[in-house]
Symmetry: C2
Subunit: 360 residues, 2 copies
Amino acid sequence: MRRPATLASLAAELGVSRTTVSNAYNRPDQLSPELRRRVLETARRLGYPGPDPVARSLRTRKAGAVGLLLTENLSYAFRDPAALGFLEGLAMACEGAGQGLHLVPVNPEREDVAAVHRAGVDGFVVYSVPDDDPHLAAVLSRPVPTVVCDQPRVEGVDRVGIDDRAATTQLAERLISLGHRKVGVVCMRLARDRNDGFAGIERQQSAHFHVQRARLSALADAFAGVGVVWADVPVVERFDHGSAQGAAAAAQLLDTDPELTALICTSDILALGALAEARRRGLRVPQDLTVTGFDGITEAVRAGLTTIRQPVLDKGKAAGKLLLGAGEHGRPRQIILPTELVVGSTSAPPRTAEERWFGP
Amino acid sequence: MRRPATLASLAAELGVSRTTVSNAYNRPDQLSPELRRRVLETARRLGYPGPDPVARSLRTRKAGAVGLLLTENLSYAFRDPAALGFLEGLAMACEGAGQGLHLVPVNPEREDVAAVHRAGVDGFVVYSVPDDDPHLAAVLSRPVPTVVCDQPRVEGVDRVGIDDRAATTQLAERLISLGHRKVGVVCMRLARDRNDGFAGIERQQSAHFHVQRARLSALADAFAGVGVVWADVPVVERFDHGSAQGAAAAAQLLDTDPELTALICTSDILALGALAEARRRGLRVPQDLTVTGFDGITEAVRAGLTTIRQPVLDKGKAAGKLLLGAGEHGRPRQIILPTELVVGSTSAPPRTAEERWFGP
DNA sequence: AATTGGTTCTGAAACGTTACGGTCAGGCAA
DNA sequence: TTGCCTGACCGTAACGTTTCAGAACCAATT
């Protein structure tokens, strides 16, 4: 008896059918308590650990798990509060449904899609991935339901997100009404290739991260509406996402154009870095410089940042619910969650030219 | 052709053996480029999504994923920076090895162990689970390697952790040398049953969370060494882990015994709450009250907390490495990572009685 | 002509389970 | 007695893949 015990060997030992042993574990009402007791006892004696989960999955066509794809370096997901909130919400939804959450390993460097094909899951959630990512393509090629959150834009796939354009427009209008006309933008990566520096209009418009694209284009339209030539507005991109990057990007903007009165950042993390850089330069916020963010993470709100709050936890929950409640529901569904402008203490009217020279 | 295509149907369509189709995907060098091209093309035409991951797992006896068990409410893992650091480290290790990370869904209320049996994984990491948890028992009953981190104490199982006793002793000696003799303790949950309040010696010693047990007993021994009767030292326990709980526990201690000169908390999160409570009461830290933590999370270190720093990220990495590099290595291995006493600005000698009455 | 060596492909045997459609004995009412 | 129902169990057929030992073929060497 070297080989590990299986359901079949257990059945043989007991002189019953495999079905009966299976029932002992899965449908106790299908056999007499006495026999069930004997089965379980013999199992213990033979060291049978219970039905093999993989074999069960093969037969039932259910893996009991949801795959999560995020192409970013994993550190990103665990360090960015917004991503973390999403992850938590998704995890809660899975937990509530008794489903596991399978984090798909992705090596951002190599385009190795094998892990996507190897994942034994009943569906995928895709978050923060560029439209043209090969991993995304691999997910879509798998015959399981998929829900996309925020980032990848995919025709005909269930989706949860926010209205980035409307939210950004609201923020832009706020700044415009305050009187800002000379603004600079700090944004996250726009495509899969690294570009730490200025991003021209061309690049902005062809961004493969459509959330960034939507926010930039909303800004462009809003400011164009008051006569600002968007092509002249400096937009700085950072590939990695952290406050250090935000600070560096802010420095780059302020070095290039000291006349800027507002720095619009497409995430709170970047904005917090920009705030730090302003402080380092002795610029008072908001008197000398207005800074805004996006996301509404706790740390930023606590710091008084003017930003857009989005319900990250709910996004995760909604994604989970959409995926797990995926019956036959005709056309793809879409859930757009509400956002809210949070006016903090980092935005104010720009100083006039006089004030710039002679103090407040 | 209603049924979805399988490897077999594809082989039949092509008039080749299943082996050949399998090789087309897994061992391209085993067949001519021309045939491979034909296989892949036909696959595309028939909508064959590539080898089924579950069937493959059944055959190869490899799931390509590591299970992570934490019995706590999932929010805990995503909100506690220490747990998060561990999670990140583990995720990095998995990612590096191309393994998925399967978060096992656990309903802390119901003792439903089924999810553990259903998880298709090659091994388990168990973190922050009481010794007597049924989920832990379920994991151990599965015939896969297991690594335990910190929390559960299990004979004969690979383990990574820190020397809680030594670290706590170091901290205690620091407080003792500063002159503290009237101390109170705030600790995390000691067992599976909820007890938000004082924990007597009995309960301390029989704690099912051995990390807490070790820290408490180290404190007891150290203070006993200078004549403090540990039975008289108030120890307050909190089931949930958050700074609000830390604050409430601190309040409970200070209400009961205003003479206390130091609050020793077994986690930074609790300590941050204790600091907030002290502030609320107008107690100056460290002049009026010394507060210490444990973990060395960024937020606490930034706040100047005196604490023990432990390498949470490395713990996760080590757990992953141990599990994934699990060959035949005789007896169970153990990795004990180093800790470091971080002396911050929240600890100082206690005020003398005179100072208490007449000010510094 | 026989041998060797290499490539390319095949057939059959697992891998361990659950779903489905039964059988069979016993009880119960008509 | 007959017919019907119910509880308890069984046999077979998947589920879709990989693995392993070889067969068939061809070219190059002895």
